[in-house]
C-alpha cells in the first residue's frame, strides 16, 4: 500500500484547470519530487493534498484511507505536514516558539489547566521546549532559539519551517521549494537535511526548481505541465523524456536542457 496517493485529482479557478486529472502514488520512505515549469500547478497540488483547497474531483489517500477534503489540522494529526513556498512563519514569535507550535498535536489541550497553570502544564511546556530545541539543533538553528523569527535571515527561516513541520512528527512531509532563494551553501545544507529526514524514515514529497538538487536527491519524479501529468519515473528516465525537455525550454532547447538537467 502506498503511503500517499492521489487519484484523478483536479481543481479549477474561474474555468482555468489549475490541476487536471493528476494521479500518482508515493511509497513509504521515498523522496518523491514534483517538478514542472512555473504555473504548472505544483503548489496548487500541494494545497489540494494538504487540505488547504478542496478538490473539484478526485481523491487523496493517506495510508490507504480517503482523506479528500479533510482539513489541514486533521491531516496534521494523521501524520501529514508541509512547508510553504512563500514563508508562513510566525514572525512575532521566537524560533523556539515557532517549533514549539509545531509540537501542538502532541500536547494535551486542557484549557482549564492552561488558565490555572497546573503543574502538568509546566511539565508539558518543558517537554515541548526540549523537543523543539533538539529539532532546532538538528536543522542548525540552535543559536537562534530566542531570536524573534521576524529578524532572522531568509535561509534560516527556510530551515525553521522544516523544523516546525518535523515537530509534528509526520509520516509524510511535503516540502514546497525548500531551497528557493537560498545561496549554494544554504542549498547544500537543505540537501543534507532532506537526506537525513528521508534516512529517518519520513516520506518526502518535494517541489523544487533547483534541478541539480532534485536530480540528486529524488528516488522518483512526477512532471507537471499546465496542470496535467507529463511524465513520471526515475531521474534518468525523466531527464531523457523529450516532452519534458520541450515543456521546459521549447522544442529547440534540447542542448540547453541537457545542461540544465546536468
Amino acid at each position: 500500500m502506498s503511503i500517499l496517493s492521489v487519484e484523478d485529482l483536479g481543481i479549477e479557478f474561474g474555468g482555468l484547470k489549475a490541476v487536471d486529472n493528476v494521479s500518482f502514488a508515493v511509497e513509504a520512505g521515498e523522496v518523491f519530487s514534483i517538478i514542472g515549469p512555473n504555473g504548472a500547478g505544483k503548489t496548487t497540488l500541494f494545497n489540494l493534498i494538504s487540505g488547504v483547497y478542496t478538490p473539484k474531483h478526485g481523491k487523496v489517500l493517506l495510508e490507504g484511507r480517503d482523506v479528500t477534503g479533510v482539513g489541514p489540522h486533521l491531516l496534521a494529526r494523521k501524520g501529514l505536514s508541509r512547508t510553504f513556498q512563500n514563508l508562513q512563519i510566525f514572525f512575532r514569535m521566537t524560533a523556539l516558539e515557532n517549533v514549539m507550535v509545531g509540537c501542538h498535536r502532541h500536547e494535551r489541550m486542557n484549557v482549564f489547566a492552561h488558565l490555572l497553570a497546573l503543574p502538568s502544564v509546566a511539565r508539558q511546556n518543558e517537554a515541548t521546549r526540549a523537543a523543539a530545541l533538539t529539532l532546532l539543533s538538528r536543522v542548525g538553528l540552535a543559536a537562534y532559539a530566542d531570536t524573534v523569527a521576524g529578524s532572522m535571515p531568509y535561509g534560516a527561516l527556510k530551515r525553521l519551517e522544516i523544523a516546525r513541520a518535523l515537530a509534528a512528527d509526520p509520516k509524510v512531509l511535503l516540502l514546497d521549494e525548500p531551497a528557493a532563494g537560498c545561496n549554494p551553501v544554504e542549498t547544500e545544507e537543505i540537501d543534507a537535511l532532506i537526506h537525513q529526514i528521508a534516512a529517518d524514515g519520513v516520506t518526502v514529497v518535494l517541489v523544487e526548481h533547483d534541478m541539480k538538487l532534485v536530480m540528486r536527491i529524488s528516488d522518483r519524479l512526477h512532471v507537471l505541465d499546465y496542470g496535467r501529468t507529463l511524465a513520471e519515473g526515475t531521474a534518468e528516465t525523466v531527464r531523457r523524456n523529450p516532452d519534458v525537455i520541450a515543456a521546459y525550454l521549447g522544442s529547440h532547447g534540447s542542448k540547453e536542457a541537457a545542461r540544465a538537467f546536468g
Partner: protein
C-alpha cells in the same frame, strides 16, 4: 398598500443617507485601506454648518456651498494631520485614530456650534405629496434625488475621467499605481475630500427631516459602516445597495414588527447575510494563496 408605500419611501430616504455614508467609507477605504469612523462627522458638519451660516444671514445656497467646502477642508486636514503621519500603522491603530478624530470633531462642534438640536427649512415646502395613498415630504425627494445625482456623478467620475481612473487604479493596486506614475498621496487626499463632500451633502439634504446636532455623526457612522460591510467592503455598488437595504429594513421593521427593535432587525439581517456570504453581498470570495 398605502402603508407599504409609506414605509418604503421612508426606508429609501433614510437608506439614501446611509448609502452616501457607506460610499464615503468605501472611497476612503479603497484609496487608503483606512476604515474612517469619523465619516459620520462630515454629515454632522454639513448640516450644522449650513444651519449656523443661514442663522448668520448667509443665503441658503451659499451656506450650503460653504458648509460643503468646510467639510472638505476638515477631510483634507484629517488626512494630512492624522492619517498621513500614522502611515504604516496597523489597521486597528488607524481605526482608533479615526475614532479619536470623530470624538475631537464632535467636541469641536459643541464648542463652535452648540449642543442643541437644529433644523433647516425644507427646500420645497412641507406640504406632503400623496403617492398611491402614502404621503411623502418633498424633502424626501430631495434626499433620494440627491443620492441618485451623487451616485451618477461618481460613476461618471470613476469611469470617464483620467483622475477617476487613477483613483480606481490606486485602489486596485497601490504599488502598481505608483509605478505607472500616479501620485497616490494626492489620490488619498482626493478620496478624503470626496468622502467629506458626499457626507456633507447628505447632511444638508437630510437635516430638514431628521434634525441635526453635534452628536448625529456616531450613529450614522455605525449604520454606514454596517451598510458598507453588508454590501461588501470596498465595493461602491455594494455600499449603495447595502445602505438602501439597511434603511428599508429599519423602516419595514419599525412599521410591521417593532419600532423598539428596528435597529436590531437590520443587524440580525446583516448577521444572517454574513453567515451565508462572509464577504458581503457583492464582495468576492478570495482564494487563499500560499
Amino acid at each position: 398598500m398605502a402603508e407599504f408605500l409609506q414605509f418604503a419611501f421612508s426606508g429609501l430616504t433614510v437608506g439614501a443617507v446611509y448609502a452616501l455614508v457607506a460610499l464615503g467609507f468605501t472611497i476612503i477605504y479603497n484609496a487608503s485601506d483606512v476604515v474612517n469612523f469619523a465619516q459620520g462627522e462630515f454629515v454632522m458638519i454639513g448640516g450644522m454648518a449650513t444651519v449656523f451660516l443661514t442663522a448668520l444671514g448667509v443665503p441658503i445656497p451659499l451656506a450650503v456651498v460653504l458648509a460643503i467646502l468646510g467639510a472638505v477642508v476638515v477631510g483634507l486636514l484629517l488626512h494630512r494631520l492624522a492619517i498621513e503621519p500614522a502611515r504604516g500603522a496597523s489597521s486597528v491603530t488607524l481605526i482608533i485614530i479615526t475614532i479619536g478624530a470623530s470624538i475631537f470633531l464632535r467636541g469641536l462642534a459643541q464648542v463652535v456650534f452648540d449642543k442643541q438640536f437644529h433644523t433647516l427649512q425644507p427646500f420645497s415646502g412641507d406640504t406632503p405629496i400623496v403617492v398611491g395613498g402614502a404621503s411623502i415630504l418633498p424633502q424626501s425627494f430631495w434626499v433620494m434625488g440627491g443620492a441618485v445625482v451623487i451616485v451618477v456623478l461618481l460613476w461618471a467620475f470613476f469611469n470617464h475621467t483620467l483622475i477617476g481612473k487613477a483613483v480606481l487604479a490606486t485602489s486596485a493596486n497601490r504599488l502598481a499605481a505608483k509605478l505607472v506614475g500616479i501620485n497616490t498621496g494626492m489620490i488619498m487626499s482626493l478620496a478624503f475630500a470626496l468622502s467629506a463632500a458626499i457626507g456633507a451633502v447628505a447632511g444638508v439634504l437630510v437635516t430638514p427631516i431628521t434634525l441635526t446636532s453635534y452628536e448625529v455623526g456616531t450613529l450614522l457612522a455605525l449604520k454606514g459602516f454596517a451598510a458598507a460591510m453588508l454590501g461588501g467592503m470596498g465595493h461602491p455598488l455594494g455600499a449603495v445597495v447595502g445602505g438602501l437595504v439597511v434603511g428599508l429594513l429599519e423602516a419595514f421593521g419599525a412599521g410591521y414588527l417593532s419600532s423598539d427593535y428596528k435597529d436590531a432587525i437590520a443587524f440580525v439581517v446583516i448577521l444572517i447575510t454574513l453567515f451565508v456570504l462572509p464577504t458581503g453581498l457583492f464582495g468576492r470570495a478570495s482564494v487563499e494563496r500560499v
